[in-house]
């Protein structure tokens, strides 16, 4: 049987903030766009964050309208829970073979009422809440998910059928299987995002074994209004922390991990979180242990100075080791560089590792786009064409291109959309010229 086919001008791979922005920038110019997202909802990492620096705008308030705009744009076809499996060149463009994974829920009929979720007996650690909260085997991914459709995780289901019994619209469909289709496109924009340094990467910091040593993304969830506990509590025992420390460069600029680059966001997110913590826990002591503070963006240095003025303690020194005392309080061993390099041990209620950004996905084999030594997609001419990859018609944006913050991701997505639009126009002109040539030749026959 012939595969179902979609024809678009541009295929966007990844529905985080970078992919959504590139999709909207192309669609607003009138180009037909297909956005493929592997997860059940778009929103990427940004929708899980608390607030953005340096404006301290609520992340959900900024991201949700963009998610909605993508879902409702007449020029965008949103394809969630889908993955590109193969790519072929086709006369100046590309054909992508895409798999739509089964949700075991009839998307068109699901209203996102979550009756199935409440009936499901299986609680699992929630990836969205970085394991601190729970979700069910059948669930709407998170409260502002787009689309608002439940997805059944068959690998963690006992097939009890309770969800099917309570669904008011008869949406649960255990017979669903993966569906395949093709997308013919002129240009591709890769926005495949990032992962963070695993919490267990450094044995000196407890190798992920200490409940009260968390990473920056976990703190984002604790600070978010939709966070797992509804308050900033430490995961070890639910205590409201009085003393919180940040360990900077915990996974960046670290030759022992093979990650020698600066992740460019950790200083700012740590400062932002420290400021938010000062508001949430006014009596708490907050310390940031750092090697250098890098606040290079517009308004960032002022942001840092504001944090200092608020009473957040900045200690210049590299944390050598984190241990745990008998009450599960993390103990930080640090060389105080501004105090004659003396070695001290300080006890905190909660330690946050400012983990770095790692390439989340290697598009090399599938898209024929090489990665640089750091693992991020190679951009051969960053000064002239910042989003152009080594393969014609394939562009890259967001952290897939290298560590960058949300502000830079938005800017690069605009650039990627412009470069993709120019490529599409050039392609369409070539096609029009060759078609008119063909017609003239036919007229002479």
């Amino acid at each position: 049987m012939a595969l179902e086919k979609l024809q678009v001008d541009s295929l966007i791979v990844g529905g985080g903030i970078a992919g959504m922005q590139a999709a909207l920038d192309l669609a607003d110019q009138g180009y037909q766009v297909a956005l493929v997202e592997k997860e059940a909802s778009i929103g990427g990492k940004m929708i899980a964050l608390s607030k953005v620096f340096p404006t301290l705008d609520c992340c959900s308030c900024i991201t949700t309208p963009k998610m909605s705009a993508v879902a409702h744009h007449e020029n965008i076809q949103l394809l969630t829970y889908c993955e590109v499996q193969a790519l072929e060149e086709n006369g100046g463009g590309y054909t992508a073979l895409v798999e739509k994974k089964p949700r075991y829920v009839i998307e068109e009929d699901c209203t996102g009422c979550r009756e199935c979720e409440y009936a499901c007996p299986i609680d699992l650690p929630s990836d969205f809440d970085r394991g601190m909260g729970a979700y069910r085997a059948v669930r709407v991914p998170f409260s502002t998910a787009v689309p608002q459709v439940a997805t059944l995780d068959i690998e963690n289901c006992i097939l009890c059928g309770k969800c099917e019994k309570v669904c008011p619209h008869g949406c649960i469909d255990f017979t669903q299987t993966a569906r395949h289709f093709e997308i013919e496109t002129t240009a591709i924009v890769l926005a495949t995002g990032f992962e963070v340094t695993p919490k267990d990467a450094k044995k000196e910091y407890g190798a992920g074994q200490f409940d009260n040593v968390i990473d920056g993304l976990m703190m984002e969830r604790l600070l978010a209004p939709t966070g797992p506990y509804g308050h900033v509590l430490r995961p070890g025992d639910g205590k409201e922390p009085d003393s919180i420390a940040y360990v900077q460069c915990a996974g960046s600029r670290d030759a022992t991990l093979g990650i020698e680059y600066c992740s460019r966001v950790c200083c700012m997110y740590a400062i932002k979180q420290a400021m938010l913590l000062s508001g949430a826990l006014p009596l708490a002591d907050i310390t940031i242990y750092y090697m250098d503070i890098r606040t290079f963006g517009k308004g960032y240095e002022q942001f840092y100075q504001t944090a200092r003025a608020m009473g957040i303690e900045f200690v210049k020194g590299k944390v050598a080791q984190i241990t745990e005392d008998e009450n599960k309080n993390p103990v930080v061993r640090v060389e105080m560089l501004d105090e004659g390099s003396k070695i001290v041990e300080r006890t905190h209620d909660l330690v946050v590792l400012s983990v770095g950004l790692l390439p989340g996905y290697n598009p090399g084999s599938l898209y024929g786009v090489p990665a640089a030594d750091d693992g991020f997609v190679t951009v051969p001419s960053p000064n002239i064409s910042p989003s152009e990859t080594a393969r014609p018609g394939i562009f890259v944006t967001g952290v897939a291109a290298g560590p960058m913050d949300i502000v830079d991701s938005i800017v690069l997505s605009g650039a990627a959309a412009s470069e993709a639009a120019a490529y599409i126009e050039a392609h369409n002109s070539r096609v029009a010229v060759s078609e008119s040539k063909g017609k003239k030749e036919l007229a002479h026959v």
């Binding site: 409440y118 007996p121 299986i122 609680d123 650690p125 601190m132 909260g133 729970a134 069910r136 085997a137 068959i154 690998e155 963690n156 289901c157 006992i158 097939l159 059928g161 099917e164 255990f174 017979t175 409940d211 797992p228 506990y229 509804g230 308050h231 509590l233 995961p235 070890g236 025992d237 639910g238 205590k239 409201e240 009085d242």
Partner: protein, 99 residues
């Protein structure tokens, strides 16, 4: 649902359980483990407001694990946050929710 439909549905679920036997068995073991832990947590809570360390001490379940279960139960309205005792929030069973 007609008797015929009920039979077909039951047959389909049986077939699927066979197909996914390994993951179903693993998940059933997880459910059993969670139910056993929650039984201890609810016993420790009684009908009083309790903090996580109190529940952990009374139940013998680690405080980290107690917090995860309380968070899950709170999300699905089986436990409610009812106040604070020092640096810890207190939780109580929701009437008609938890057993």
């Amino acid at each position: 649902m007609s008797t015929e439909d009920k039979k077909t549905r039951a047959q389909l679920l049986k077939q699927l359980r066979e197909q996914y036997r390994d993951t179903v068995d693993r998940t059933q073991a997880l459910l059993k483990e969670h139910n056993a832990v929650r039984k201890e947590i609810f016993k420790a809570m009684g009908d009083e407001p309790r903090t996580v360390p109190e529940i952990a001490e009374l139940s013998g379940v680690s405080s980290h694990e107690v917090l995860w279960h309380i968070t899950a139960l709170k999300k699905y309205d089986l436990v409610a946050e009812v106040g604070m005792d020092g640096e810890y929030y207190q939780y109580q069973k929701v009437k008609g929710g938890a057993s």
